[in-house]
């Protein structure tokens, strides 16, 4: 299986890059070949502190874990302890101490691709807590929307995964999973909620939003990602929030010579558009 994955992100309008609290893995574009891949996006909650760190820990952990139940058990518990150690190193004012005690929160969406037998595709599985979403597109058809499927389902009060075990006691009830099959040529779009909500609304209005997402950083791009997000915000077509997109293309073959190292070791940055073509 040959995969090309490229992340795009923008902080909430009015915030600086260092205040961005979503997370994505891989953090830069990668192309590689392997029998399985893991990808993830996460969205740290605005109202908690150190949510960005928690979101980053979560995507890294998911993509380097191989278990079917990554958010339970000892490995996850150690992740929570690591967050707590990281944020408690310095003495804090009373309000920061209270925020640490409450814990950080994040939505997470993780996708695993498995290679099948032969050249005809394979299976995929996804897991989600919260409102970060995945869409699978084949040709000009949306095959899957997960875990939310319509724009009305998004709210500002989702159930999220916490760094504080006390807040996760009912999390199993809010954990969603799905599986499906992929074929070479399929694309997966992993999105945090603001973008996902826009995508679903476009679909509901009979539009083809994947055409915009698939063109970023290619010769067909109309506007660079950040500029495009800014224009949606100006039109109030998207909620002002951190925005993250991870585009995963499953290709028929490598289309950049010399980049056939296996993932995740491959940290290769792809050349800018105009040099890198997309599979046709």
């Amino acid at each position: 299986m040959h995969v090309f994955a490229q992340p795009f992100w923008a902080p909430r309008g009015g915030n600086v890059d260092s205040e961005y609290e979503d997370a994505v893995w891989p953090e830069s574009a990668v192309e590689g070949q392997a029998t399985s891949f893991r990808f993830a996006v996460a969205d740290g909650a605005t109202e908690a502190s150190y949510s960005g760190i928690w979101a980053k820990e979560l995507v890294h952990y998911f993509c380097h874990d191989s278990s079917d139940a990554p958010f339970e058990g000892g490995g996850f518990r150690r992740l929570q302890e690591r967050w707590s150690e990281k944020v408690s190193r310095r003495p804090s004012p009373w309000y920061a101490e209270e925020k640490i005690r409450l814990g950080a929160f994040a939505a997470i969406l993780g996708l695993t691709l498995y290679e099948g037998v032969g050249q005809n595709g394979g299976n995929w599985k996804a897991v989600a807590i919260g409102d970060s979403c995945l869409v699978q597109v084949r040709g000009e058809e949306v095959l899957a929307r997960f875990p939310l499927a319509d724009s009305a389902a998004f709210s500002n009060r989702p159930h999220l995964l916490s760094s504080n075990p006390a807040h996760n006691s009912h999390i199993v009830a809010h954990l969603r999973t799905i599986d499906g099959t992929w074929q070479p040529g399929d694309a997966f779009y992993l999105m945090t909620d603001a973008l996902a909500s826009w995508f679903m609304r476009e679909l509901e209005e009979g539009q083809t939003p994947w055409r915009i997402l698939r063109d970023f950083d290619t010769q067909d791009e109309v506007k660079p990602f950040r500029e495009w997000v800014e224009s949606l915000r100006a039109q109030r077509a998207i909620r002002n929030d951190d925005v993250t997109l991870l585009r995963v293309d499953i290709t028929y073959r490598a289309y950049t010579a010399g980049l056939q190292r296996s993932y995740p070791e491959s940290e290769a940055r792809l050349p800018r558009p105009g040099v890198t073509g997309r599979p046709t």
């Binding site: 909430r12 009015g14 109202e47 502190s49 009373w94 309000y95 209270e98 999220l160």
Partner: protein, 279 residues
């Protein structure tokens, strides 16, 4: 649509608390079955409101100035009630409030240990106000001062999320009928909607606590009924959050509580994603 303006550092909103410091606040709370005075209830309510508002705006790098906050006391005097280095100031950015409590006490809090049990944990509890009880209840005058402060804020922040005024009192104004001044406050507006006026009634009456009612029927006395009528209807977005938080609300629900906790209002504020598992 009203009440949809984003609350941000570039476009902050405003909170104004009016606290009754009159002599009658020295009376016991809830028909004397407890030794707590109403003035203790007021001090506790305002300290917890400020604490929750600061925590809501706190991020790892410090407190973000999403709100400017004023506290007007009314009793023997009417005017800004902050002490210490904030004394005399009408509206203060929330970061300064968070960093300048009068003192910080240590209290023991029972917290969930994540394994089904509770453990005692020491927590730092900031105090801005101590109980005060002297003089009359010049509520009309306090509402007039609030009106003046808000007018000036709104002229400087015409696109802000509408300011919220929370009046904490035992309800018995001594300088006339507060309905008129309350109406005048509720008629003030930004481009995003009218100012919201909420009332907290702390009474000596033995009566069941009431939170966010949608009718005056069943309220225990005429003061409660008056404060209910003076209170704004909860806007649609707050009703929706209140519903998610488990309150029974209707379109007639008002921002009024009787002998009950108003801190829930802070949870109704929207500054971005709030986990529904965080209570």
């Amino acid at each position: 649509m009203p009440y949809t303006a984003e609350i941000s550092r570039a476009n902050p909103s405003c909170f104004l608390f009016l606290i009754d410091q009159s002599g009658s606040m020295a009376d016991p709370f809830g028909a004397g079955e407890s030794s707590r005075r109403k003035a203790d209830g007021v001090a506790d309510a305002i300290n917890r409101l400020l604490q929750n508002l600061v925590i809501k705006c706190a991020k790892e790098e410090g407190i973000r100035d999403y709100y400017h906050v004023g506290v007007i006391g009314y009793g023997a005097h009417v005017g800004p009630a902050f002490g210490g280095s904030l004394a005399g100031r009408e509206l203060v950015p929330i970061s300064e409030i968070g960093n300048m409590p009068a003192r910080i006490e240590e209290r023991i809090k029972k917290v969930d240990d994540g394994a089904g049990g509770l453990v005692d944990q020491p927590v730092r509890f900031p105090i801005w106000f101590d109980p005060v009880a002297s003089g009359g209840t010049p509520m009309c005058q306090a509402l007039g001062v609030a009106h003046h402060i808000l007018q000036s804020w709104l002229s400087q922040h015409p696109a802000c999320f509408p300011p919220i005024v929370i009046n904490i009192t035992d309800g018995e104004a001594t300088d006339g009928d507060p309905s008129g001044p309350a109406d005048a406050i509720r008629r003030l507006s930004s481009n995003d909607g009218e100012v919201l006026l909420f009332n907290v009634h702390l009474s000596s009456q033995r009566a069941v606590p009431i939170e966010f009612p949608d009718t005056a029927v069943g309220l225990p006395d005429q003061f409660a009924q008056l404060l209910f009528r003076m209170s704004s209807l909860l806007p649609a977005y707050m009703r929706s959050i209140a519903q998610q938080e488990g309150y029974r609300v209707s379109e007639a629900t008002r921002g009024f509580v009787f002998n009950a906790d108003i801190v829930a209002v802070i949870r109704f504020l929207d500054i971005g994603t709030r986990p529904s598992d965080l209570r």
